[in-house]
């Protein structure tokens, strides 16, 4: 049925180019990725986003020029404006996902010339997918002879291509594909075409095993407490055969089943691993960052702690069996999905070597564990947290709070956080905040009411903090570098859900803007019909700014360097130009405001021999550059900015780097607003220019 809808985009001409590439690969070599390549999404399986390259450095970063660029508009039936991919560069070819089709493209890494393209036409199944567009990337595998590219389509099919030609590998699965909606220890409902499950992250291949998680629609206002479950599976990279499965919601008889009271493990869904996984090939261990169970902000239908929701789970690479786990948030209520790749780091704490795993989070804590045993490197005691009063909800009275490192971004809202540029602005910010319940991290969501509070004002929840781009790690300094939004305010109010909308008791909403069921033509519209209650559009909605100024004090977004040997900050800077609205605001005239950084939550960092590199997420127009955004470089030891180069649109995919023909390149995905997706490659001008 599906195969009938599938139509592969292939072009015989590309085979010719593929054959040329084949000639350049040493036939007898075993595959050992070079330090000058970028062979997996996060540079390596340890999630470091680090390459020891230094041709591009503090002295010349600002001289970078565009080597090549490729718009992704034509890799799908419409342009996309949210290009989030990070390409790979291996063995002299650059690979990326691109466009609204999530096509795979192979390019010459020095010139950007298109070598081959592969796309899957999935018809209704693609159109119904919960995670569409080009996704975050793909995986490369080689045994030294065969070279393969693996990616997951929007319609949730794992595709295996010959890296040299882009042609599907016939011996893998069913003619090059594995239907991920099948053989998943559950029946995907309602059917294989529209059944909600997919993924947008890049697959990971470790020791011949392909690891695939799952993602769903946003979970703020789900239609039901029932949903498909996000299990994690391992597949044989040669055959596509399923090797193992890990049940992120335990089945009856499995460890953790009893943390779902009243049988709620049976019907609750989601709880997937939608972001990047990390692998220690030497230890044979996988680190799985698990998301929130069904219904982001209301857990009344899933009493209990809900393992393995919002847990870091370590499983065996060969069998998928659980080795250890640590639940970061018990009975999740804040959409604190573990949203990015765990980072592996070999560190020295109090004179003792530790094989560690460090997990950046939306809530701004960097959780650091011994990755062999799962024991926290620094204590994470259970501390009492506020218990709420939403009808039917159950609350965990405590949550684990890391004692070290301290939180690197705001994860609650207090009056102290509100802007203080001038007393008048502060008063207005206080007035807005007074309509909400405030508190520190883990202050629970509240029912939205017009006469008391409209909800709980939070930070470090759904957006973060650190979201999917995650952090970087420098094995030389033992520093983690991590971007975080420090001003992404999220009001979380709950309203009773009408039965026609959802079978969940409470969903996200605002008093005065209760969910309306659309009526049929003429219904309740005749004379003497009851008149609808009069209410203003927007109801209790409050804009979270004062005359365009963010409600909270700068810095709005930061990059923090955290040393993992000591658990201390090395430096923290505001990342991003001060927004136009702040620089030109009449109420701020005459004030000396240091760079504020920007309010955005999707910025990934890259670390090299000497630099930390990250683009901006907001557009600005300044005396130094036209409307656009800057790709910035910082001295990794001090955080001091050492260079910047112009981009026509914000960074939307994390930057990567590689060397080819003796030149270093940096590739970054930009898009957003009216600017459709584009990969841009920067390099230094040739000598003599």
């Amino acid at each position: 049925m599906l195969e009938k809808n599938s139509k592969r985009l292939q072009n015989g001409l590309f085979l010719f180019f593929g054959a040329l590439l084949f000639l350049s690969v040493p036939a007898s070599a075993q595959f050992h990725p070079k330090a000058t390549d970028w062979p997996s999404y996060a540079a390596d399986l340890a999630g470091t986003r680090y390459r020891p390259l230094d041709q591009i450095n503090a002295a010349n970063f600002s001289d970078l020029e565009i080597a090549w660029r490729i718009k992704t508009d034509n890799f799908g039936d419409r342009p996309e404006y949210k290009l989030e991919g990070t390409p790979l560069m291996v063995n002299g070819t650059l690979y990326a996902t691109a466009g609204s089709r999530r096509a795979v493209i192979a390019l010459d890494p020095a010139t950007g010339e298109l070598l081959w393209i592969h796309g899957e036409h999935e018809g209704k199944r693609g159109g119904a997918a919960p995670r569409q567009l080009s996704g975050r990337g793909l995986a490369y595998w080689s045994d030294g002879k065969d070279e393969r590219i693996l990616y997951v389509t929007p319609g949730f099919r794992l595709i295996c291509l010959d890296a040299k030609t882009g042609v599907p590998i016939p011996s893998f699965g069913n003619s090059g594909e594995v239907d991920l909606k099948r053989n998943d220890d559950q029946d995907i409902f309602p059917d294989l075409i529209t059944g909600e499950i997919g993924i947008q992250s890049a697959p990971v291949v470790a020791k011949d095993t392909v690891i695939i998680g799952a993602a769903f629609r946003e979970g703020m206002t789900p239609r039901s407490m029932r949903n498909n479950k996000g299990y994690v599976r391992g597949f044989d990279v040669r055959t596509g055969k399923r090797l193992w499965i890990f049940h992120t919601i335990p089945k009856k008889g499995e460890f953790g089943y009893d943390t779902w009271e009243k049988g709620s493990a049976e019907y609750t869904g989601n709880t997937g691993v939608w972001t990047q996984v990390t692998v220690d090939e030497q230890l044979g261990l996988i680190y799985l960052p698990v998301e929130t169970p069904t219904s982001d902000f209301y857990g009344g239908h899933r009493p209990g702690n809900n393992l393995f929701g919002e847990s870091l789970v370590c499983v065996d690479l060969k069998t998928g069996e659980r080795k250890w786990h640590f639940q970061l948030v018990h009975h999740p209520l804040w959409d604190m999905d573990i949203s990015s790749a765990p980072i592996l780091a070999d560190i020295t704490v109090d004179g003792k070597p530790v094989k560690a795993v460090a997990q950046p989070t939306k809530q701004g804590f960097l959780y650091v564990f011994d990755r062999v045993t799962g024991k926290p490197v620094w204590p994470m005691p259970e501390r009492p947290v506020e218990v709420g009063n939403v009808p039917g909800e159950t609350y965990s009275p405590t949550q684990p709070i890391p004692t070290k490192p301290r939180a690197y971004s705001r994860n609650g809202v207090s009056i102290e956080d509100l802007i203080d540029f001038t007393p008048a602005l502060r008063d207005r910010a206080k007035e807005i905040a007074s309509k909400y319940h405030l508190g520190p991290v883990y202050t629970p969501p509240s029912v939205s009411k017009l006469d008391t509070t409209l909800g709980t004002l939070t930070m470090g929840t759904a957006s973060g903090g650190t979201n999917w781009p995650g952090g970087s790690y420098d094995p030389e300094t033992h520093n983690v570098y991590v971007y975080a939004c420090n001003s992404c305010i999220e009001p979380i109010g709950l309203v009773a859900a009408p039965k026609e909308v959802s079978d969940i008791a409470y969903i996200a909403g605002t008093a005065g803007r209760e969910v309306e069921i659309l009526k049929g033509p003429g219904e309740n519209a005749g004379a003497d019909s009851p008149k609808p209650p009069k209410k203003p559009s927007g109801g209790g909605f409050t804009r979270m700014d004062v005359d365009g100024l963010i409600l909270v004090k700068p810095p709005y977004g930061t990059i923090t360097a955290i040393n993992l040997d000591s658990g201390e900050f090395v430096w923290q800077i505001a990342h991003g130009e001060t927004p136009d609205v702040v620089r030109s605001h009449p109420a701020l005239k005459g004030l000396n405001i240091p760079r504020t950084g920007q309010t955005t939550y999707n910025i990934g960092t890259l670390v090299t021999k000497t630099l930390v590199i990250a683009g901006e997420g907001n557009v600005t127009t300044t005396a130094d550059h036209p409307r656009g955004a800057m790709l910035r470089a910082y001295d990794k030891m001090t955080g001091k900015e050492v260079g910047a180069v112009y981009m026509p649109a914000p960074q939307t995919g994390s930057p990567m780097t590689y060397m080819v023909n003796g030149k270093q390149y940096i590739v970054v995905a930009v898009s957003g607003g009216p600017y459709s997706g584009e990969y841009i490659a920067y390099t230094l001008p040739s000598a003599g220019e």
């Binding site: 419409r78 569409q132 305010i489 927007g538 927004p579 609205v581 557009v619």
Partner: protein, 146 residues
Amino acid sequence: MKYPLAILAFAALATPLRRQVPDASLRSVWDGVYTEEQAKRGESIYKKECAACHGDMLTGGESAPPLTGGAFLANWNGLTMGDLFDRIRKTMPQSAPGRLTRQQDADILAFMLSINKFPAGKTELYKQSEMLKEIRFESAKPSPKK
């Protein structure tokens, strides 16, 4: 009267060029460019078509950008309502872009303006892209004109 051909060709080129750079004399979103009624219609459509991804409070999610707040206001600041309208027309709703009518898209835009606390006025927001390009998106309220 005959004009030299070159001047005609220049005039033909000049118009689209000028439109690409919104000038300060255009109306802006602060000038009451939609009505309350239109925003209410837009709210119903938004809830059905947009809220699942962009959120009830327009704060976005992991897969959908916010439609209010710092990044949204910064990234559209200085552009026009036509640019925003075209973006919606081309790409939304994600499962079936272009399924909504231009009127529905304009209504959703009116709702987004109301949520972002731009003032309502007496005339509805246009539903033609070219006309919407005459309305500048300004994130901060401009100083009163003298």
